[in-house]
């Protein structure tokens, strides 16, 4: 089973684009990349979180059928910010059950037509009733984890700031990124609070965008393709919707479970991974992810991030070369697809200025909500 093509629209505030036009651009964009016709696609997996809540827009499967003019099976997948990773996971299962087939995975989200309050409310739909009643937002939930972590391991907001510093540097090398500006630590620390101790510049933005992949187990197509990357593992784990029901707050347990399963399945070790896209919806999330994926020891993330060893050209594996959610943008349904796509570009040496050298294996880590769903995908060239 191989990924043979990836396409993403520009991420950002795309005033002139609707959800439908984003989906259309991504579908026909990835077909062109793969040099395929729509007739060669056997099924589509579509990921989106908020169209139902924000714009009274559901039954997108049928809307996509109209866009492409075909009657093939189309499935819509929702798992909050992990929708894209889950859509990809289900696509791999579809291919496991069907030989000589080709599927298209497309993730899209339209978010910038609405006020921050409306979007915050729609995102909060993925939190528990108790959390919503406490007035907790997603930044608020991650802020509770961040404050817990900073207190337990004696770090400050400055340690968190290095995540955004690095990811904006990477974003400056990615022409499709929402933000392509570099930041200083001082500027990050001076940005206003969203939910203490997290600030605007600790947080991923509200973005529009779409991303698409072609996945196939058709040997003929794979042979004919200019680029191909193997899917070594795609593993899913879940956890309680309530943050307060978890054992501890300095880890995301579902990340630990999914990554253990994924490394076992892929039969490789952590040291073989040279590039990763991890779910940095907030600065603290990247630090927890690096620890829970097993790349760093618990509690050392705050120190390690300051060394910038995971920046392109650093001594460690490169993390979030796309700019991550922070700089590349976070159109919720598209994010998980884009993460896998970025690893595909890196492993096929198509990443341009942000190319990581000598990477044979890469990992994508996609989180829904405050850790209620996690998908870990491992790819190999």
């Amino acid at each position: 089973m191989k990924i043979i093509a990836f396409y993403q629209t520009k991420f950002g505030e795309l005033w002139e684009k609707s959800l439908t036009s984003l989906i259309k651009e991504a579908i026909f964009g990835v077909l062109k990349e793969a040099n395929l016709e729509i007739d060669q696609v056997d099924a589509i997996f579509f990921s989106n979180m908020m169209a139902g809540v924000l714009e009274n827009n559901l039954h997108t499967s049928s809307k996509i059928s109209e866009i492409i003019g075909k009657n093939i099976p189309i499935f819509r997948v929702e798992a909050a910010c992990a929708s894209g990773g889950i859509a990809f996971h289900l696509a791999t299962k579809y291919l496991s059950d069907n030989s000589k087939k080709t599927v298209l995975i497309v993730g899209a989200e339209k978010m910038t037509d609405y006020s921050p309050e409306e979007t915050t409310l729609a995102l909060a739909a993925a939190a528990s009733g108790e959390e919503q009643e406490a007035g907790l937002t997603f930044p608020g939930l991650y802020a509770l984890m961040a404050n817990f972590y900073l207190q337990k391991y004696h770090y400050s907001e400055e340690n968190l700031a290095y995540v955004s510093f690095k990811n904006h540097f990477h974003g400056s090398l990615n022409p499709k990124a929402h933000f392509q500006n570099k930041l200083t630590i001082e500027k990050i620390l001076k940005s206003p609070y969203v939910a203490y101790p997290l600030k605007v510049l600790d947080s991923s933005p509200i973005s529009d965008g779409a991303a698409a992949l072609i996945l196939t187990n058709d040997a003929y197509l794979i042979k004919k393709s200019k680029y191909s990357v193997s899917v070594l593992a795609s593993e899913v784990a879940t956890d309680t919707i309530n943050l307060f029901q978890r054992q501890t707050f300095d880890e995301i347990l579902a990340t630990k479970i999914a990554s253990e399963l994924a490394f076992k399945k892929a039969k490789i070790e952590r040291k073989h991974i040279k590039v990763a896209e991890v779910h940095d919806c907030f600065s603290i999330a990247e630090i927890l992810a690096m620890e829970d994926l097993g790349f760093w020891k618990k509690g050392e993330g705050g120190k390690n991030i300051k060394e910038l060893s995971t920046q392109i050209g650093g001594s460690d594996l490169t993390v979030n070369p796309s700019g991550g959610l922070k700089a590349s943008g976070h159109p919720v349904g598209a994010t998980g697809v884009k993460q896998i796509g970025e690893i595909f570009l890196q492993l096929t040496k198509q990443a341009g200025q942000r190319q990581v050298k000598n990477a044979k294996y890469g990992l994508a880590h996609n989180v829904g909500g405050s850790g209620g769903t996690v998908v870990v995908t491992i790819l190999g060239s």
Binding site: E117, Q132, A134, L136, P139, G140, A143, L144, L243, F244
Partner: protein
């Protein structure tokens, strides 16, 4: 608007927590909030470990800045949770106050 039937269904869960004491194990202060909470910003939300070791979240009320600390002792109280329309049922829920 929160539907009255949802408010009614949640009452029985709240009764179990009401009046319990506990300590703050993490906290935040929300600056960007959904519409129903907008006029309360900035407001603190605390993650509390209750006396029976169960955990819960809620806003901290009747507080001073010095109460925003780890280990702060708190008690669960019943308060209005969100702003609703004039004709709607007023939702009450769990908040915490320092003791």
């Amino acid at each position: 608007m929160v539907s009255p039937v949802k408010i009614w269904r949640r009452q029985k869960e709240k009764r179990e927590i009401l009046g319990k004491e506990g300590k703050v194990i993490s906290w935040t202060k929300i600056y960007i909030a959904p519409n129903d909470f907008k006029n309360m910003v900035p407001y603190p939300v605390v993650l509390v470990e209750l006396e029976d070791k169960k955990k819960f979240v809620g806003q901290l009320v009747d507080y001073e800045e010095k109460n925003l600390k780890f280990g702060q002792k708190v008690k669960a109280v019943l308060r209005k949770t969100r702003n609703v329309g004039q004709e709607d049922v007023i939702p009450y829920g769990i908040k915490f106050k320092p003791i």
